[in-house]
């Protein structure tokens, strides 16, 4: 099970969504799909049509910058980060 960490901006939008959870997924895209199944609409908050990650959403797998197609295994740590910006 991948260890998924989500940004603080996301849980207020989806009832019951935790900051951290474990998911069974073979890629970043599949992990987001699993999240969207449980919290409909979540994919749209992270991805644009394409699909591609939104411009200011960064994903890291085991601390390496990742894309939707980046593979995951049972020991992967996934960090979804809202880029530091704004004021």
């Amino acid at each position: 099970m991948a260890d998924v960490h989500l940004p603080v901006t996301l849980p207020p939008l989806f009832a019951g969504l935790p900051r951290r959870l474990e998911l069974d997924a073979a890629s970043v895209a599949e992990a987001i799909e699993r999240l969207d199944e449980r919290w409909p609409g979540l994919r749209d908050r992270l991805c644009e049509p394409g699909p591609v990650l939104r411009p200011h959403i960064n994903v890291y797998v085991d601390r390496e910058r990742a894309a939707l197609e980046t593979p995951l295994d049972a020991s992967s740590r996934v960090d979804v980060v809202a880029a530091i910006s704004g004021g």
Partner: protein, 358 residues
């Protein structure tokens, strides 16, 4: 006594300011919508739903809705996207509820609609084939803060008829629910060369007189204008105003010749001139103008008001409401003769709309 609800969209969420029919004492609730940047907040007077057009820097554009005057909110972006890979929806800029549906204007420029109370949205038109359509979504031709389809005006009686404003290109009217469009910019002024005289006009705010649906007014980048034939032709009515630039405008709810604007310096400043705040009123369709400033700050007041930043209610003596880009809200309950500041420290305000309930 009716309840007055002022819906204020800001850079950091939506706020609701509430009062009774006297419109003297106000309370503030908010921020709502998770403090997302809000571009326009409106209330559907039929269903009672409040809609807030929003765009998070991180999580994209969406439209929040509340069926219980802000007690609870839901966000939807279902259907708010373009299939055309060349178009990217960055924000929802404006909303217009009417006739059991809600119209939404977006950047890149397109009109969406919802017929299920904001749960889902569908693309109505990107004005394909209209003059300028090939250019107006070109990022190289868009100013900072581009709003795309920046204005919507629904006809009160005909659900198939409405007007939209494409930022920097002008007004287009449809009479068949968005299937076909006609540019409605004849008589407007542009202080730059035009390749096509039908388009290329920077319309900031388009309003209709509730007392005469053929009487339209607009605040333009280049002057203030009136139409007596529902936008088929325009005449300039800027003379008597201190500048020819501004964003916000409202039409008097009962008097077809009554109209309010807030002139701003038109260069980079875009604040009320000379640091002295004022709203300007005409009661004769633009033949003459009165400066209204009693109760507004008259010294070092660098106040700006954006295109959705002024509203008017429809009570017998209408109330006027102005929200500034520095977070103040001013009201007048005597048609602009006197003003009161009812909120001082909100985030920068992008929109003000008012609902009279009960």
């Amino acid at each position: 006594m009716p309840q007055i609800v002022l819906m204020v969209g800001t850079r950091k969420g939506c706020f609701l300011l509430e009062s009774d029919g006297d419109r003297r004492d106000w309370s503030v609730r908010g921020p709502f919508c998770e403090s997302w940047p809000i571009y326009h907040v409106v209330r559907d007077p039929g269903a009672g739903t409040i809609y807030a057009a929003a765009a998070s820097e991180w999580h994209g554009a969406g439209i929040w809705r509340s069926d219980d005057l802000g007690e609870s909110w839901e966000l939807s972006s279902a259907g708010l996207a373009y299939d055309d890979g060349d178009l990217r929806l960055s924000k929802v800029s404006g909303l217009a509820p009417a006739h059991g549906r809600v119209l939404a204007g977006a950047e890149a420029a397109g009109v969406f609609e919802s017929r299920d109370g904001g749960a889902t949205w569908s693309l109505l038109s990107t004005l394909d084939g209209q003059p300028g359509r090939g250019d107006w979504n070109d990022p190289a031709k868009q100013p900072p803060g581009h709003l795309g389809l920046a204005g919507l005006l629904a006809h009160p009686e005909d659900p198939d008829r409405f007007w939209i404003v494409v930022q920097g290109y002008g007004i287009f009217e449809t009479t068949d629910g968005g299937v076909s469009w006609t540019p409605r910019n004849r008589g407007l002024r542009a202080d730059w060369p035009l390749e096509d005289p039908e388009i290329g006009y920077c319309v900031h705010k388009l309003v209709m007189s509730p007392a005469d649906h053929d009487r339209l007014y607009q605040q333009n980048h280049c002057g203030t204008h009136r139409s007596d034939d529902a936008g088929r032709s325009w005449v300039e009515i800027t003379e008597g105003l201190p500048t020819d630039f501004g964003f916000a405008a409202v039409a008097h709810p009962h008097d077809r010749d009554g109209f309010y604007v807030i002139p701003l310096d038109g260069a980079h400043d875009r604040c009320m001139p000379e640091g002295r705040a004022a709203v300007w009123r005409t009661r004769d369709a633009g033949e003459s103008w009165q400066r209204l400033d009693r109760g507004l700050p008259q010294r070092d007041a660098r106040l700006g008001v954006l295109r959705e930043g002024m509203a008017v209610d429809a009570l017998d003596v209408p109330g006027l409401y102005v929200g500034t880009s520095t977070g103040q809200v001013f009201t007048s309950v005597d048609e602009g003769e006197h003003w009161n500041e009812i909120a001082s420290y909100l985030p920068g305000i992008s929109s003000v709309e008012v609902a009279v309930i009960g």
